[in-house]
Amino acid sequence: MAELKTKIKQNTQEQSVEKSPIIQEEKEVVFQSKNFNLWYGDNHALQDINLTFHENDINAIIGPSGCGKSTFVKSLNRMTELVPIVRTEGDIDFRGDDIFKSGMSVEELRTRVGMVFQKPNPFPKSIYDNVAYGPRVHGIKKKAVLDQIVEKSLRSASIWDEVKDRLTDNAYGLSGGQQQRICIARALAVEPEVILMDEPTSALDPISTTKIEDLMQELKKDYSIIIVTHNMQQAARVSDRTSFFYQGYVVESDDTNVIFENPSDKRTEDYVSGRFG
């Protein structure tokens, strides 16, 4: 069945290749990786990754454990550099500038490219201080300005109403879902352009997951989101584009509905259908 489908696909391939750029042309490119390779010592973890992410899109990255998806996302704000044995080749352009060579500082990159992790990791401080931490590091000291940033960020992260009366409470006292939204608010406080999310809901209950997913739909109006997820239904629900990583390669990257309804590659079909993983 799959071979036959590939055959038929090949015939229609030219048309689909022509169609995609027309839709994408309107949106500006945020990130573009060109033949990006990464090694952990001898382990060639990412191999010739060529991917483009556009403004105001939610991009999902899916793939089995160890396929390189988290490594790739961490490369986008140079977090992989924290591992001493990592070596990279190829380019990753952020807004047209190579993040490794253009002289952009890591601090500036990470300000413009925020990150939310798998487990909520608020600082052991008050809710207010958690969100105000980034702006303070950037030198904002005036209370009125900070108040404004904190409220705006908490509102954007859809948690303002739940915490507005207890901003001075320790963030650890919140539920996991609330803590994760505090972390999103903390990322938003420095007004990034892109938010990277590495399995942001895998430690959360279904209702909190729904809240984060709804929040992502709101955030995509102002930000670009790149999300790594193990939950394929989540990728299908929230993302505009999906890339499937397997053994360090990108097997297929396309509109999310194509990936989940009629993917071109048999491995993608088998993975999204849950035949392997």
Binding site: L4, S273, R275
Partner: protein, 217 residues
Amino acid sequence: MTVYREKFHEELNSLISECINLGKECQIRLAGTVEILVAENIDAARKVVRKDAEINRMEADINAHAINLITTQAPVATDLRTIISCIKIADNLERIGDNISNVAEVRKRIKITNERTLLRFKTMERLASLMLEDVYTAFKEEDMDLLDEIILRDQDIDAVFVQITTSDIFEESDAFLTGQIQLTAKYLERIGDHIKSIAEHIYYIHTGDPYEKHKSE
């Protein structure tokens, strides 16, 4: 590579088997349709009408099974297309069963004796029967060319339908008789349409594209 979700795939195969069984049941009934029309005794016709409930039950079971798989397994891609198409194919097969039962109802009302008309009915039955058999082969062997051919062959049944409805028999004054012939011809013609529709659903399972799109390219 480790294979996962074996139980789901067993269930999916069992759903497909249920559809095939329903198809085979329709095939058996279809092959005797015109025989019922000419039978001296109307008991056979009564039996066919009664047994239609069995086909309806099989369709309901397929729908329930399909809904259960969608709810519990969140299928995507080919799996999802297969399940959705099973629901649609079962609906087509159930309607084929209805049409066979409707032909039997005609026998309960009247016995058609015009040789030429009966021969044409028999031709329609044979053409439909061969289409249904080939649709199964095309599914089993993933033969897209055969599906194309089956879809075209529906026109042959339509042509016999036109022959019947424009034939001399309609010049007869027995309006009840001509009315029943017209109905029978329409029932048999509709069976062809349903088989054509099944072929289109199978095309969709394999390619992910609606058949109309393929036709217009």
